[in-house]
């Protein structure tokens, strides 16, 4: 690092520093500094371009392997129309119950898994539904089946009420 450039001059015990030895030490310090700067530049380029490259590539290919992400923050256009997903279970007595999803973080985000439930094997679907039932304080043994239902809605700009319309689609079914 940048020292006073003279530290080496007094190293020779019992030897008076001459102009030649001082010059030599200065050159050595300068060489060391240049070498260190070159090493720092190499590291700077390697680290910076690698980090920027990974972030940019993640966004380009829309990878989601946190912290590599597509950085899609509110990137889709919202309109008055939308759709809601519900987990509905049917009891042994035939009564249908909508399972309340967890409200607090980090469990609240698990409701986003409803949309992908149909893509999972039967066993994995059942495990998730049982987990949601237990989180909601419901006994899984009291229900015979579960379904993920999708309903389209349109929001009223004046009242902000969501008016459901169209047929309810069953996205996934699970036997409990």
């Amino acid at each position: 690092m940048r020292g006073d450039g003279l530290s080496g001059a007094a190293d020779g015990v019992g030897r008076e520093p001459t102009a030649a030895t001082v010059r030599e030490d200065l050159h050595e310090d300068l060489r060391e500094d240049l070498h260190e700067d070159a090493r720092a530049r190499r590291r700077a380029r390697a680290v910076t371009w690698t980090v920027l490259g990974v972030i940019a590539l993640g966004a380009l290919v829309e990878a989601e392997a946190w912290p590599v992400t597509a950085f899609r923050l509110f990137s889709t256009v919202r309109t008055a129309d939308g759709a809601s997903l519900r987990l509905v279970v049917t009891g042994t007595d035939g009564v249908r119950v909508t399972v309340p999803m967890p409200a607090d973080a980090p469990l609240a985000a698990t409701s986003h898994q409803l949309a992908e439930l149909r893509d999972l094997p039967t066993g994995a679907r059942r495990e998730k539904v049982v987990a949601w039932l237990r989180l909601a304080g419901l006994d899984p043994a009291a229900f015979t089946s579960a379904a993920v239902e999708r309903t389209a809605w349109t929001m009223d700009g004046e009242t902000r009420e969501r008016h459901e319309h169209g047929p309810t689609t069953v996205l996934a079914q699970v036997t409990l």
Partner: protein, 307 residues
């Protein structure tokens, strides 16, 4: 053909030359010597942001998530799906201890690495619920170049060297790229309609504002205002590299993103405070002129306090 081909060559050469010159300029700016105190300021402030995030959240809540509901690919997906409650708490304590080492300037580099690892693991685990969470991702990425930085000792604060110069500039480049990408993705998926349509009106109407529901709805009902809000946000994101390239506009950028994220928090209740703090932690010290330290702002703070 034989005439036009040689005519095109100078144009290609000049384009290549321009690209090479731009890369050269960026490289020269990245690897120019910098003062030790500037790296220490950015290093300390980013560590403080990590520390604040570590103490502000009940990380033990991760353990309440059943294994069956752990979902999403992260760099810690290899960990067991269900974590015991002591593990996130231990990581938070260790991470905070790492931040304390940075603040005390004792084994500051090791402390920063420890804090970052604990924080990144906790955030990845917290976000493994099926939805990609971006609240902490900027802080995690901005801190990465600092993991490879040598931290100046107390007696090296005034030295100027390449080794102190590049890490805060690399952090600044990461900050610029991330904000720019968030804007690019809006254009890529929605086009200019993201800003100029009634998109923001419906975002506000469908969102839940625990802080200022009335104001959010009032803005939503004024299409020009809502559209202006969206246009401003998009422009800010897309021009982030320009704001951060020039020293004098860096602090303004930190202020602008603070306003943008504060409005998101106010209108939608979404907390992006980590982004605000991270942008400030990097952009504010990097906005100061050479020779001017962050500590020099104390008289300004005192004056503000007195008034």
């Amino acid at each position: 053909m034989s005439v036009s081909a040689p005519e095109r060559r100078p144009a290609v050469r000049s384009r290549d030359g321009r690209v090479r010159a731009l890369v050269g300029t960026l490289d020269a700016r990245l690897t120019a010597p910098g003062p030790g105190y500037r790296l220490r300021e950015v290093h300390t402030l980013v560590a403080l942001v990590i520390g604040l995030r570590l103490v502000a959240r009940d990380w033990a809540a991760i353990a309440e998530r059943p294994a069956a509901l752990t979902d999403g690919l992260t760099f810690v997906s290899w960990l067991p799906a269900a974590l015991p409650a002591w593990l996130p708490v231990t990581l938070a304590v260790l991470g905070t201890a790492g931040v304390a080492l940075v603040l005390a300037r004792r084994r500051a580099h090791a402390g920063f690495v420890l804090a970052w690892v604990c924080y990144a693991v906790l955030c990845a685990s917290w976000g493994s619920s099926g939805k990609v969470l971006h609240n902490d991702v900027l802080t995690v990425w901005v801190a990465v170049p600092l993991l490879f930085a040598r931290v100046p000792r107390r007696d090296q604060d005034d030295e100027r060297a390449v080794v102190w110069g590049w890490p805060p500039r690399a952090a600044l480049a990461v900050l610029a790229l991330v904000y720019w990408l968030t804007g690019v993705q809006k254009l890529r998926h929605s086009g200019i309609g993201w800003a100029l349509s009634d998109n923001m009106t419906w975002v506000l109407r469908q969102g839940t504002s625990p802080h200022a529901a009335g104001v959010a709805q009032w803005v939503a009902d004024h299409a020009v205002l809502a559209s202006g809000l969206a246009t401003g946000a998009l422009l800010l994101e897309l021009t982030a590299p320009v704001w951060l390239l020039w020293r004098r506009t860096r602090a303004l950028f930190a202020l602008a993103v603070a306003v943008m994220h504060a409005s998101i928090w106010l209108f939608l209740g979404i907390d992006y405070s980590a982004w605000v703090l991270t942008a400030a932690a990097v952009a504010v010290p990097m906005s100061l002129a050479t020779g001017r330290r962050l500590e020099d702002l104390r008289p300004l703070r005192a004056a503000i306090g007195r008034s």
